[in-house]
């Protein structure tokens, strides 16, 4: 592969999912993670849109990386992202109108998600198509995973259901399905992950 660096598919995926998880580790693009995670479905759809935009932009940039002039690279990236965001926006509006209504604003706002442009800058502009694709997949999946994870947590506790399917006949903790609970959910889960990681490292160190 190019630039003398070697990336395996698995490594790229693991990177996005765990090591540099956009939400829990890099703490980037957290607006939807707070506002849109009171159910799993919204988290999934938004994650899907981000995944699409990330992969598409990564691929586009890595294809045209020699064409894009160095000094206008940021505006160019923004235009590329905005294009793919518009595409996914129009696609969702056309083919998933029912779900689209709830997440419309956030789909448009994917344009300004720092995670996407930072991947373009850091990775896609220096690598060929295939690693860029997998990098985008990793990051997008990591984002989607985080969103859905918070979503599962909140939807189950908040409304006793998952993906809109009633699992419990009552609502264990109505509070968790409320918008402000998103902050608490992410704060607590972030701390939980940190704690687990520390424990894991300590355990590995002992071994």
């Amino acid at each position: 592969m190019s630039e003398g660096q070697h990336y395996t598919v698995l490594e790229r995926l693991a990177n996005g999912l765990v090591r540099e998880n956009p939400i829990f580790k890099l703490a980037l693009s957290m607006c939807p993670a707070v506002a849109m995670t009171n159910n799993v479905r919204n988290g999934f759809l938004l994650g899907l849109a981000v995944l699409f935009v990330q992969v598409a932009s990564n691929v586009t940039v890595s294809i045209f990386r020699r064409f894009i002039h160095e000094r206008i690279r940021i505006p160019a990236y923004i235009i590329i992202i905005a294009t793919w965001v518009s595409v996914s926006d129009m696609g969702l509006a056309a083919y998933a109108p029912g779900f689209y209504k709830e997440i419309a604003l956030y789909v448009k706002l994917i344009v300004v998600f720092a995670i996407i442009i930072s991947r373009l800058e850091v990775f896609a502009s220096r690598n060929t198509v295939w690693p860029s694709f997998w990098d985008g997949m990793g990051m997008g999946l990591g984002f989607m995973f985080a969103l859905m994870f918070v979503g599962v947590f909140r939807e189950f506790l908040g409304s006793g259901s998952l993906w809109g399917i009633e699992l419990l006949p009552f609502k264990p903790f109505f509070f968790w399905s409320l918008p402000p609970a998103g902050f608490f959910a992410i704060g607590l889960l972030m701390a939980l992950f940190l704690w687990l990681e520390r424990r894991f490292n300590a355990w590995r160190g002992r071994k």
């Binding site: 903790f173 109505f174 509070f175 409320l178 402000p180 608490f184």
Partner: protein
Amino acid sequence: MSPRLWKVGVAPHVRDNATVAGIMWTVFAVLLPQLFLSAYVFGPRVLALAGVGVGTSMLAEAAMQRLLGKPVSLSDGSAALTGLLLVYVLPPGVSLVLPFWGAIFAICIGKQLFGGLGFNFFNPALIARAFLAVGFPVAMTTTWIMPELPAFLAGPDAVASATPLALLKHSGLAAYLAQYGGPHGLWASFLGFKPGSVGETSPLLLGLGGLYLLWRRIISWHIPVAMIASTALLAWVFGPEGLFTGQPLVHVLSGGLILGAFFMATDYVTSPSQPLAKLVFGAGCGALTMLIRLKGGYPEGVCYAILLMNCVSPVLEDWVRPRRFAPPLKKD
């Protein structure tokens, strides 16, 4: 002379006898008359609420301190006080689950997560109330208990189904006055025979308690006076019939204003400590209270007003520094 061990320590070697525990338990004790009145007015379940609130918050405090490897400091009374104040801002008819979860939220999230006493930004009891208000909205808005008036206060038409402020907000001043306007109503309102949160009903007992704290110099006059004065002023200015027609007493005696002004807004940790900043803080609490009561979505605004001013408290603390003894020497 036998060699003996002398204690060394840094000056001063004499100390004032005020202690944190003394302050907290004094406030706790001063609050109790209102609790007994509520138990008489709303029934003994109030005592069960208070027991759950105080007990849970003390347990939660001990558990959290254990978990975080800190010395357990239940004797300083701050956890017990938080639990009691939390129960004071709950409607008397709520189930025991509410003070339980509320106390856990207040202590674990509102206090210990920030490092315990002294580092929380929001009054733990009030932030827990805000949490309960969104988490258990129905219970927090409907479980009022209508007191049975003692004979000397019973008016001709003493039937109401909401707190005085809810009546005022949703049915207007006329409905309020019909209920609480006459001499009987005013007395009932002043003595504490009216629907409301567990600990806010009696301006008389709370006011006396507050005065005692003032006299003991546990709290300073700045916050309560500024808060009550600004509430009264705004209530008078923005009256229901145009400017300068309001009835300040209606707003001062109703709801949690007295409780908030003497016992909530004056919480040391979450309010500024300089006199000027305290005045601003108190005035802000009063203004926000009236803003929420007159324009906001809730009939009562004291809780949120104090919470919002708690957000501003670090800023005030930062802006209003003590006046220094003298400016530094000018270097020529």
